[in-house]
């Protein structure tokens, strides 16, 4: 995009070179301009002879010829590169330009347009596609971790292909809080993109930048621009790597011996006799030794493979350019291996741009296709989490029985319900999801007169997914079994159409430069879903390979016959928007945006919303009084902005009370099974025709500064973002009889600070280095919830920590969204005296029959009773501070880089053990338990009941971490090869997720999982991110 715009601008004025009055004495000097990195010819670079009007531009091979005298200075400048002045010497000048990574003349993407970086008045930031691609992550967002202050990116699971939890400037809602993704101007799914195809990603953070996206922009906007062709001769690139993944560290569970000691101690503490281990016959293997299974170890696979290959071709000339690519990516899971956890993706893309009628008309397209194949283990809540079983099963249960089959404990005499978590993973993870995505954008831009542009873009996306799963018969314990097999298949597809029309015009009035844009956009989506299932698979066809519905013989619902189909409810939007920008001498600038949106999610009369914004900037460094320090600080811009956005992402037809016919069966008479049922009709919601948008209002102030001739860049922003009228399913009094009503029910305030530093310099000719550091602070506070108790309960968290556990996170006024809610503790009762003192002080005691070694729950309201009134905010899963570092250097043909990100101030709730099961295994942490006075003031004595494990700060861990996310060392052999067709031949070694510094004792401190979408940091047995060592190659021909 960048190159295209610049090129067009320059090509429009080839005549300028003719205007130069040739000096008679001058001779014709030839030269060639190339970039320092990649050694690529720079096309359209401006070459001027110092002190004269003589000027030219380079051609498609980077060549130029100009009239100049020996000894004269000529300056070569090119957008995105540091200008260079050389003295004319000889007749063949070789000029190499260094890239200016922080060039202020570069353009950056804003909504429906581009603007020069120095004139930006909003808070946005740009990441280069090359910087993303070189991180070799499966999802481009992952590569942005730590590089984008104000944008929190957290893994929700380490499983290949897992989603990331992304928030820009804090959680603004309890509904959908992820940003809007716009790919080449059209809404899209960023997980379908191949990082190698990305030119740049622009993150719009403040409301002045996002207001142009109106009702969809409240959570920030991420603009992705894909690669266009570069003018010049065709270039072929090949990038590939292969890597080996391993778990960074594993949780330590009790081994058989330790487990037996702890179980005996539990029995003693509960007044029972110790276990007579010899009487449990099946705890011993054939050699008579006690079985000792390390279930955690069993679940993981060593050296899981990951690989990626990309081929790209691009080129162009003055009539047009093209870029096409093919990519393949595969990642095996470290839990269970590729048979049960795997992600595979194929990508293809063709982008081209054509110039017609001497530049009056431009047309082009971006067509991309992706195909994803996914299989995975369950990584959901406590009852849908494959890994969790490994934490709870006793080490005394073997993996395989004497016949080599997965062991069943159904007749085990120590604990018949232990089951076999490894067996469960291997037999129940038969599933495959395939996603196909097509996106096609066509555009035409007409420029009938200079600076008047009429542009129309038609965007079409089609996505389809098909899913197949097979559940076989198995019986590992009475709690872990299936008595009949079943296969399920379903298919889902949807398409969207977006039509955008814009008119823009730029003009000047004296020193005032103005730019106006107006446009409209229409969007529609629809699709459908169909699914079927069957059971009783034909003998011989009851395996994953043959698991298709046609092989089932079930004739009734009870035996697995199902079939359903539904529309994906259509969605429609119509929008009008506009922008007016002004600047005076590129020193004072202001922009106003608006958008007027109509959305069919709301009832008539509430469909339309208006979203305005204003922003202003002042480049103080242009003022004369700043000139004295210009050597030190060459650029300083102050920015301030205000605006409003909306969020309309709610359940379709949420304003109505639908009548439901599902799950409402009653069986009159004496026929049982589905045949005996009649269905009923009912409603379980109250209508709310007044339902309307969430509105987010944001104030932002910041500055951008450059020091030491652009070597140091500093950006800072402060913001206050208030989201009003949350769309929430408000709890109603149960007497209403319905579960909820969708209302505009709450307000939340996010405020914070972002600061970024970038240093970029060169020492001598061969050594370049750069360093970056950024941090962001965010404070999240709920300021209103529109029901009587001011609480939105995390009821879906009940039963998650252990069977029958109660609510442990919630949102309430004055607290952050999704904070952990439980008892505070004050250590362990060491002796009888402490208990008596505690009672004498009229502090409540929760344990019915309290003993030394039990937990001291704090009686916060000091009413001599421990109850819900004593539960307080124990922290939350979102970080207060996020930090990022990067270091890079290159020397001759070597390059080295390192990136790191850190998260501070977030808490993690860790619950691996089902405390309701006295025989569940423990982590080795329990070895530090209280066993007598002075032995521990943290870990209570062991009991068979869970009275010391009600939700309290004992579950809370600090989640702070610093992760060295990427280390890369590369060497470019192209110069050694000295082959004119090879411009790059780089070999590199990379370590991803290299080291994690944290006090957290789980397998991974980066836990975006939170049972539901508005909580996070809940570790119920989390699929950790792997450490990957990979070898890669980049070739350019």
């Amino acid at each position: 995009m960048l190159f295209k715009v610049v090129l067009i601008a320059l090509l429009l004025f080839p005549a300028t070179s003719l205007l130069s009055a040739g000096q008679l004495s001058a001779k014709l000097v030839k030269g060639n301009v190339v970039s320092a990195t990649g050694n690529e010819p720079l096309i359209g670079a401006t070459v001027t002879v110092e002190g004269t009007m003589v000027m030219t531009v380079t051609d498609y091979d980077g060549n130029f010829s100009i009239d100049a005298n020996e000894g004269q200075s000529i300056t070569v400048s090119y957008v995105g590169f540091h200008s260079k002045t050389v003295t004319v010497k000889g007749n063949n000048l070789q000029i190499t330009l260094d890239e200016d990574v922080n060039s202020l003349d570069e353009v950056v993407a804003i909504g429906y347009g581009v603007v020069k970086k120095k004139l930006v008045t909003g808070a946005n930031l740009q990441i280069k596609g090359d910087d993303i691609a070189k991180m070799n992550t499966s999802n481009p967002l992952q590569a942005m971790q730590g590089q984008t202050p104000g944008m929190t990116i957290i893994s929700t699971s380490g499983q290949p292909g897992a989603d990331l939890k992304v928030n820009i400037r804090g959680m603004g809602t309890m509904g959908t809080s992820s940003p809007l993704y716009i790919i080449d101007g059209i809404r899209g799914d960023i997980s379908t993109l191949n990082s190698a195809d990305i030119e740049s990603i622009d993150v719009l953070k403040d409301a002045a930048s996002t207001a142009i996206y109106g009702s969809a922009g409240a959570n920030g906007v991420v603009l992705v621009t894909t690669k266009s062709g570069r003018n010049g001769k065709a270039q072929v690139t090949f990038d590939g790597y292969r890597g080996w993944q391993n778990v960074e560290r594993k949780s330590k569970m009790l081994n058989a011996e330790e487990y037996q000691v702890i179980m005996d101690e539990a029995a003693i503490n509960s007044g029972s006799a110790v276990n007579d281990w010899a009487s449990y016959g099946n705890l011993y293997d054939q050699q008579g030794k006690v079985v000792n299974t390390d279930w955690i170890d069993q679940m993981f696979k060593n050296n899981a493979m990951t690989e990626s290959y990309n081929v790209g071709v691009n080129g162009g000339n003055k009539d047009g350019n093209y870029s096409l690519s093919l990519g393949y990516f595969n990642q095996e899971g470290i839990v269970g291996g590729k048979d049960v956890s795997n992600y595979e993706r194929y990508n293809g893309r063709l982008n081209s741009n054509w110039t017609l009628y001497n530049g009056i008309l431009h047309v082009g397209e971006q067509i991309a296709f992706s195909y994803k194949k996914n299989k995975g283990i369950s990584v959901g809540n406590a009852y849908n989490n494959t890994l969790r079983g490994a934490f709870n099963t006793s080490p005394l249960a073997p993996v395989y029985d004497a016949d080599g089959n997965y062991n069943s404990t159904k007749s085990g005499d120590w604990y018949a319900y232990d089951g076999n978590p490894y067996g469960v993973m291997m037999v129940t993870s038969n599933n495959q999801t395939n996603n196909a995505n097509l996106s096609a954008n066509l555009y035409a831009e007409l420029e009938p007169i200079h600076a008047l542009k009429l542009k129309t873009v038609l965007g079409y996306t089609y996505s389809s997914s098909d899913y197949r799963s097979f559940s076989p018969i198995y019986h590992f314990s009475d709690y872990s079994q299936r008595t009949s097999n079943v296969v399920n298949q379903n298919k889902n597809d949807g398409y969207s159409l977006t039509w955008t029309n814009t008119i823009s015009y730029d003009w000047k009035m004296g020193q005032n430069a103005l730019s106006a844009m107006a446009g409209m956009e229409a969007y529609k989506y629809s699709g459908s879903y169909v699914g079927a299932g069957n059971g009783l698979l034909r003998p011989g066809f009851d395996s994953w390979y043959y698991a298709y519905v046609d092989n089932g013989t079930a004739q009734t619902k009870e035996t697995g016959l199902t079939g359903n189909g539904s529309p994906n409810e259509p969605s429609r939007m119509i929008s009008y928007f506009g922008r007016l920008s002004w600047n005076y001498k590129e020193t004072y600038m202001a922009t106003a945006n608006f958008r007027y949106d109509g959305n069919d999610n709301f009832a008539p009369g509430h469909k339309w919303g208006f979203f305005p914004s204003v922003s202003a900037g002042w480049i103080m460094s242009n003022e004369s009084w700043m000139q004295p320090i210009k050597d030190f600080m060459d650029f300083f811009k102050l920015r301030v902005s205000w605006g409003q956005n909306g969020n309309a992402d709610i359940t379709k037809y949420g304003y109505t009370a639908p009548i439901k016919f599902t799950n409402s069966y009653y069986n009159f008479g004496t026929t049982l099974g589905a045949d005996g049922n009649v269905y009923g009709a009912y409603s379980d919601a109250l209508a709310n025709p007044d339902l309307t948008w969430e509105t987010s209002e944001q104030f932002d102030a910041g500055f951008d500064a450059r020091f030491f001739d652009g070597r140091l860049n500093v950006n800072m922003d402060y913001y206050i973002k208030t989201t009003k009228d949350w769309l929430v399913q408000a709890p109603l009094p149960k007497t209403s009889g319905v579960s909820y009503q969708l209302i505009n029910g709450g307000d939340v305030r996010n405020s914070g600070l972002e600061l970024g530093f970038n240093w970029n310099d060169k020492i001598g000719k061969d050594f370049g280095y750069n360093a970056g550091f950024n941090f962001a602070y965010n404070k999240n506070e709920v300021t209103r919830i529109a029901n009587s108790d001011g609480i939105i309960h995390g009821t879906d968290g009940a039963g998650q920590l252990y069977d029958n556990s109660t609510e442990f996170y919630r949102s309430s006024v004055g607290q952050p969204i999704g904070y952990f809610w439980g008892y505070k503790t004050a250590g362990i009762f060491q002796n009888k005296q402490e208990i008596d003192d505690w009672k004498a002080a009229e502090n409540g005691i929760l344990q019915a029959n309290v003993q030394p070694g039990d937990v001291k729950y704090i009686d916060v309201d000091h009413d001599n009773v421990i109850d819900d009134n004593d539960k307080v905010n124990l922290g939350n899963g979102m970080p207060d501070w996020t930090l990022g570092f990067s270091l890079g250097c290159n020397y001759k043909n070597f390059d080295f880089s390192m990136t790191a990100n850190a998260s501070l101030g977030n808490q993690i709730v860790q619950s691996y053990r089902n405390q309701s099961n006295a025989k569940a295994n423990y982590t080795t942490e329990i070895l530090g338990r209280w066993t007598g006075e002075g032995t521990s003031n943290h870990m209570p004595r062991i009991t068979q009941s869970n009275i010391n494990w009600l939700f309290s700060d004992l579950y809370i861990h600090d989640g702070d971490f610093l992760r060295i996310s990427n280390i890369t060392l590369g060497y470019d052999f192209s110069k050694l090869l000295a082959c004119q067709y090879v411009s790059e031949a780089r070999l590199y070694l990379q370590v991803q997720n290299a080291f994690t510094f944290t006090k957290y004792n789980g397998m991974d401190p980066e836990i975006g999982y939170g049972v539901n979408s508005w909580a996070s940091g809940i570790d119920l047995g989390y699929y950790p991110r792997p450490r990957t060592v990979l070898i890669g190659v980049n070739l350019k021909f």
């Binding site: 008119i503 109505t656 599902t662 009653y666 008479g669 379980d684």
Partner: protein, 571 residues
């Protein structure tokens, strides 16, 4: 320059206007699969499905798996059962059983799920009832009386359960999201009686004849409504010590006599045949083949006046049709002996009740699982997985309502003991798919109520019930049988033994006065086993008296009502 600007503006306006004209139409989409409350309830078909939805809502008070159903709570609160459950479980059952949050002070939402499901069912009934006039009945007033009568009867029963448990509760007859303070019980009873009287008078007597029980069992008949009214009369007059509005003693008696004289109902000959587990036996022959023998009278038998129906097709995707209370009260630890299935060990049976049955009374064996006598206690697996994991083990569990097991031949020829529901459903989940119906009103109850209300046939009715309990398998009367006169004391004694574990005893006690009830229920030195260890089981009469025998109102609901709703005294 000027013309250019005009050109831009003109073009912009043209595009805008062209699209704006179709835009509002484009935004008016409608669901293709949903109707809404605004456009439903048009005709008798809609009414029929809405009525089914009401029944489903009522069933949900058990099938959605509230922590305590009305029936399990009634058993715990009475002198029939202890709290029980697993040794490491929360002590919420103990709070219910002993009327004391000292058992676990954090238990202040014991009945939140029950409360939610009751009001959800009431909402469904209200939605249908208030739209009676909106529905085009096509002149069929009998059908209108039938459908609306059924809906009102269910609403009446729901409020009767609620007010018995909680005393004053919000009485809502028109759907509202507003916070409604509690209504005095007298007004609630007036509504309950009005609803059931409407049902008794408007549901045609022939609407659901017993002869078609195979199709209509579970429907509310006028007889069911009448029998309920008698139960309501007896409870209200007993607990509140006064006559209710809209119902006299004579009417209550007449309602019972109507049921008796209808000829629709008769006692099932052998008491045990009323209950699946009691009437089923598994035997193994010399070849190791297991055979089931069952004399179960079946759902919808001649004695059933009203039952709540269940099915075995529940799933984990929101389809709840099973009797979730049954798994709660089943024998804990696994399956040990057919026909008993696995449960969570709640409601262990109080030894006092076991001892109350005189010898020769067949109801004891039909009602109670005797762990020692039936050879389960000596099994090592039961000792390890059952007793050691059981709280408040007494050696007895409920048999009338019990999860069931069966023997299934395996592919290798061996026989395996599995849950009865295995194979009935694709998921075969014993937790959700128990399908034994709750019998809410038996003919025996109507006979004893008629006797209590002073029927001239009181002794005849009483004898009918009492004699059956002593009937030998050959139909003769046991030598242990002794005729008893139908005095109020004897009727109460008989009710205790006849209706054990049917959710009746606690309310029978309470209607004799809170103090009498409390003193009867109180325990001081009963020995039980918890986790295999000896424990003393105590219930303080004062704890019951302080609370007037009422249950704890959910704290969450009180908070959501902004304290317009008040907690019952003593809680």
């Amino acid at each position: 320059m000027k013309t250019n600007k005009i050109f831009i503006v003109a073009l912009g306006l043209a595009v805008t206007a062209g699209l704006a004209s179709c835009s509002d139409n484009m935004l008016n989409t409608a669901s293709k699969t949903q109707t809404t409350t605004a456009n439903y309830y048009r005709n008798t078909t809609d009414a029929y499905y809405a009525l089914n939805g009401v029944y489903d809502g009522w069933q949900g008070t058990v099938s959605k798996g509230p922590t305590f159903s009305f029936y399990t709570a009634s058993e715990m609160m009475a002198d029939e059962c202890l709290g029980g459950t697993g040794y490491t479980d929360a002590r919420n059952s103990q709070v219910v059983d002993r009327f004391s949050t000292k058992q676990d002070v954090s238990q202040n939402d014991l009945y939140e799920s029950l409360w939610t499901y009751y009001y959800n069912a009431i909402y469904r009934a209200n939605e249908l009832i208030i739209r009676t006039d909106q529905i085009d009945w096509e002149g069929n007033t009998a059908l209108q009386g039938q459908y609306i009568g059924e809906a009102r009867a269910i609403r009446g029963i729901l409020y009767f359960d609620l007010t018995r448990m909680f005393g004053n509760v919000p009485l809502i007859t028109t759907p509202t999201k507003d916070l409604v303070p509690a209504t005095p019980a007298d007004s609630i009873y007036a509504q309950i009686i009005a609803d059931l009287t409407y049902a008794a008078e408007n549901i045609p007597a022939k609407a659901y004849p017993k002869s078609s029980a195979a199709q209509n069992d579970g429907r509310i008949t006028p007889y069911a409504a009448k029998a309920m009214l008698a139960r309501i009369y007896l409870f209200y007059t007993g607990y509140y010590g006064k006559e209710p509005v809209g119902l006299t003693k004579a009417q209550a008696l007449q309602y019972c006599e109507d049921v008796i004289n209808s000829g629709e109902y008769q006692l099932v000959k052998s008491f045990k045949n009323l209950w699946p587990a009691a009437s089923t036996a598994w035997t193994e022959d010399a070849n190791g083949t297991w055979t089931k023998e069952s004399t179960y009278a079946g759902a919808g038998n001649s004695e059933t006046i009203l039952s709540m129906k269940f099915n075995y097709d529940s799933d984990w995707n929101g389809n709840n049709n099973g009797n979730r209370s049954i798994v709660f009260i089943g024998v804990r630890g696994g399956i040990f002996k057919a026909p008993y299935g696995q449960g969570w060990g709640a409601c262990t049976v109080n030894t006092k009740l076991v001892q109350a049955y005189p010898s020769g009374d067949k109801r004891r064996e039909a009602s109670i699982i005797d762990i020692a006598n039936e050879g389960i206690e000596t099994m090592k697996a039961y000792q390890d997985q059952g007793i050691k994991d059981q709280r408040e083990y007494t050696g007895y569990f409920i048999k009338k309502y019990s999860p069931q097991s069966k023997y299934v031949k395996q592919s290798d020829g061996s026989w395996k003991l599995t849950h009865d529901i295995d194979g009935l459903n694709a998921n075969g989940d014993f937790q959700t798919n128990q399908y034994q119906d709750y019998v809410l009103m038996r003919y025996a109850d109507v006979l004893l109520m008629a006797a209590e209300l002073g029927s001239p046939n009181a002794q005849k009715y009483f004898n009918e019930v009492h004699q059956r309990a002593y009937q030998e398998s050959d139909g003769t009367l046991s030598s242990d049988y002794v005729e008893m006169s139908a005095t109020p004391e004897n009727i109460q004694k008989e009710r205790r033994l006849e209706f054990a574990f049917e959710g009746i005893r606690y309310w029978d006690l309470l209607r004799q006065g809170v103090t009498t009830a409390a003193n009867t229920i109180a325990e001081s030195s009963t020995q039980v086993l918890s986790g295999g260890n000896k424990e003393t089981y105590e219930v303080s009469a004062q704890d019951i008296i302080n609370k007037k025998g009422l249950c704890q109102i959910p704290l969450t609901e009180i908070q959501l009502s902004n304290y317009k709703l008040q907690q019952n005294p003593g809680w």
